[in-house]
């Protein structure tokens, strides 16, 4: 086992799959010689050349639309959107085309492709370099959404995503890129899509999280553990298709559920989790399904004071845990 940062794990995941399967190509803005603005694709261009690592023009709809076509004709493109915030010009190509090709052809055509995008805040990125965009896409049937929290999962899930026969949106919290390290097996391994994991077992209350929030939730759980509140932390990993079994088993056990997400609260992905829990674990609940999330203002302001105000933190999650636990 080697210790890797989150971004190294992603880079290796791509490189390994490109070595294994010549149909895997990478395209996006600055992914070539520069190796991406976060260096996620660093070294790929040197190893695989112009044909398989393609610097595109500054045109997101093209990046996705071209990938759809390339996938129809036998490639497995990994399209990088430089920041998740810039995925919106490609919204039509993702939602109307990529996510719908298999369904509208009744299985006649498929678009195996991965869309990688760095998302999330707390990095001094302001309104347009901080957003969480998962809610827009997890609502869309036909595309899968994955958000890893650890280097191990990042690599293993990315490999599964690349091998998957359907479009997968792979969101990487940019604050994890260099701040998190972890063990990554040397050999080949994958982490299957669609499986959540219990990161911390507990009996009193379930915290559901994904991405950076898994780490904050674990930290919050440590803090309140000292006060005798024993939390279970579920890392969803794949947001869609959702692992209902793991989610519901945890809440049925603890009887209380807090969903933590960084995105704006209203209509965020956590609303669906809360709604499922409220409907399917009703008889087990001994407290309201609660959510702690970003405020309902358009994204994250730049000024540090405002950014801190906006961002969730272990402290804010711990407060929400205490409140729910006391219910």
């Amino acid at each position: 086992m080697a210790v890797r940062t989150f971004i190294e794990a992603i880079r290796e995941g791509m490189a390994d799959e490109m070595r294994r399967d010549p149909s895997v190509v990478v395209l996006g803005e600055d992914v070539g010689r520069k190796g991406g603005v976060f260096l996620a694709t660093d070294g790929l261009w040197a190893e695989f050349g112009d044909e398989r690592v393609i610097d595109t023009p500054l045109t997101e709809s093209q990046i996705i639309g071209t990938s759809v076509g390339a996938a129809l004709n036998g490639l497995r493109p990994i399209a990088e959107i430089q920041f998740a915030d810039f995925i919106f010009p490609a919204f039509n190509q993702i939602v109307s085309e990529a996510a719908r090709m298999r369904y509208r052809t009744a299985g006649g055509a498929a678009v195996p492709m991965v869309i990688r995008a760095p998302y999330g805040g707390g990095v001094h990125g302001a309104l347009y370099h901080s957003q969480s965009v998962e809610a827009f896409f997890t609502h869309v049937p036909g595309i899968k959404t994955v958000i890893p929290a650890t280097p191990y999962d990042a690599k293993g899930l990315l490999r599964s995503a690349i091998r998957d026969d359907d479009p997968v949106l792979f969101l990487e919290h940019k604050k994890l890129y260099r701040s998190v390290r972890g063990e990554v097996p040397d050999g080949e391994y994958t982490v299957p899509l669609g499986q959540a994991v219990v990161r911390r077992p507990g009996r009193r209350l379930t915290v559901v999280a994904y991405g950076l929030m898994v780490h904050y939730a674990l930290e919050a759980a440590e803090r309140v553990a000292a006060e005798g509140i024993d939390c279970e932390v579920v890392d969803l990993r794949t947001l869609r298709p959702l692992d209902r079994a793991t989610l519901l088993a945890s809440v049925r056990k603890t009887g209380k559920c807090l969903v933590a997400y960084e995105d704006n609260k209203f209509g965020g992905y956590g609303a669906e989790i809360a709604a499922i829990v409220a409907e399917e674990a009703f008889d087990y609940l001994d407290g309201p399904v609660s959510r702690i999330a970003g405020p309902d203002t358009p994204a994250m302001p730049y000024n540090l004071a405002l950014e801190e105000w906006f961002m969730l933190s272990p402290g804010k999650i711990a407060d929400a845990i205490r409140k729910l636990a006391a219910y």
């Binding site: 398989r52 639309g65 071209t66 076509g69 129809l72 004709n73 085309e97 369904y103 899509l193």
Partner: protein
């Protein structure tokens, strides 16, 4: 930008002597007849769709009438089941050229389970055929141009020697995706041909309110690619322009743009009343530009088509249309129980079915 067509004097050769029409294009008379046959077949199928609509058997029709000459001429140089085409909702004749059958098209019209494009899921006119490399048509216009560039990119990377063609109307060519696609295809000199069937209207909006230049082909220069205007009533001019563009693409010399000036003989669709926004004289002028009688007269003049052949063809087409209609109408509807199929490759990855179909319970697991 080049302008070709009958008026430009070179495309369809000189006199009326047997064979003089086909030969300059490297075609045989049999090819011309085959081209004519598909035009006439496309028209007959299209007219039948309207009859079905007006008699309440088909809720929606969208038509290629007036576009068939351009469609047949332009699709003809494609290698069947090898090259790719990303067509649009008027592409009936295009689809026939590349191998779809009248039954295929009528199955789409009736939205039957055996519709090869979508299993009855898509609106009529949204054709598709994986085996014939016809990319599934979607409703949001212009998206297909990017799919075609991606197909061309994959062909290049995989060394497949394929050409990809994307087709749409002039109104649709103003969408941002077109700009992004032409720029990308030109940078990478992809084996790609962009075809615009300009019928002068985007539903009710006349060209001068939807398009800032007279010819879409004028835009080609802005991408450093050839752009050519062809008269869509001149089938052989269309063929010649496409043959050159396809050859150029296959040679590795990059994309080109072909704009065919066509006429829309029907309303935008069966939901549209074009008399509300088109003058009688405009409509009358449009009818003079019907490619079918024009090509027929050309073939007759050249001695390629005689009365007997024409009658035989008409008969054969009538049979084919009747057969396709009867066959498709009799085919079964999709089973509602299949409604959740093909969301993902792995049905187990799908979402829970709606509560009113408990029989098909599939948990996300």
């Amino acid at each position: 930008m080049t302008v070709t067509g009958r008026d430009s004097g070179w495309a369809s050769g000189g006199g009326g002597s047997r064979g003089s029409l086909a030969a300059p294009h490297g075609l045989a008379d049999a090819d011309l007849l085959a081209m004519y046959r598909i035009m006439a077949l496309a028209r007959a199928l299209d007219e039948r769709m309207w009859v079905l609509n007006r008699s309440g058997r088909a809720p929606f029709v969208i038509s290629g009438q007036g576009h068939e000459g351009a469609q047949v001429g332009i699709a003809w140089p494609l290698r069947r089941d090898h090259d790719w085409v990303a067509p649009f909702y008027r592409s009936i004749a295009t689809c026939l050229v590349v191998g779809m059958t009248p039954r295929d098209l009528m199955l789409a019209q009736f939205a039957r389970a055996s519709d090869p494009g979508s299993g009855g899921r898509q609106m009529p006119g949204h054709y598709g055929h994986p085996a014939h490399h016809v990319v599934s048509v979607s409703s949001p216009v212009a998206t297909q141009i990017l799919h075609a560039t991606g197909i061309a990119l994959a062909a290049r990377i995989r060394g497949l020697d394929q050409v990809a063609m994307a087709i749409m109307g002039e109104g649709s060519s103003n969408q941002g995706d077109v700009h992004e696609a032409l720029n990308f295809a030109a940078i990478h000199r992809l084996p790609f041909v962009f075809v615009v069937e300009n019928n002068g209207y985007a539903i009710s909006v006349p060209a001068e309110r939807e398009l800032s230049v007279r010819d879409v082909a004028q835009r080609a220069a802005g991408y450093g690619i050839p752009g050519v205007v062809v008269d869509g009533t001149d089938v052989l001019a269309c063929y010649a322009a496409s043959r050159e563009a396809v050859a150029r693409a296959r040679r590795g010399d990059g994309p080109s743009l072909i704009e065919a000036k066509v006429t829309r003989l029907t309303g935008h669709s069966s939901d549209d009343q074009q008399t509300k926004y088109r003058s009688a004289s405009d409509l009358a002028e449009g009818r003079t530009r019907d490619p079918l009688p024009i090509f027929r007269a050309q073939l007759r003049d050249a001695g390629v088509l005689d009365e007997i052949t024409e009658l035989e063809l008409d008969g054969e087409i009538a049979v084919a249309v009747d057969d396709a209609t009867a066959f498709a109408e009799a085919e079964p509807d999709p089973d509602p129980a299949t409604g959740t199929d093909h969301v993902f490759a792995d049905p187990l990855a799908g979402e829970a079915p709606p509560p009113w179909h408990p029989s098909r319970a599939r948990e996300a697991g």
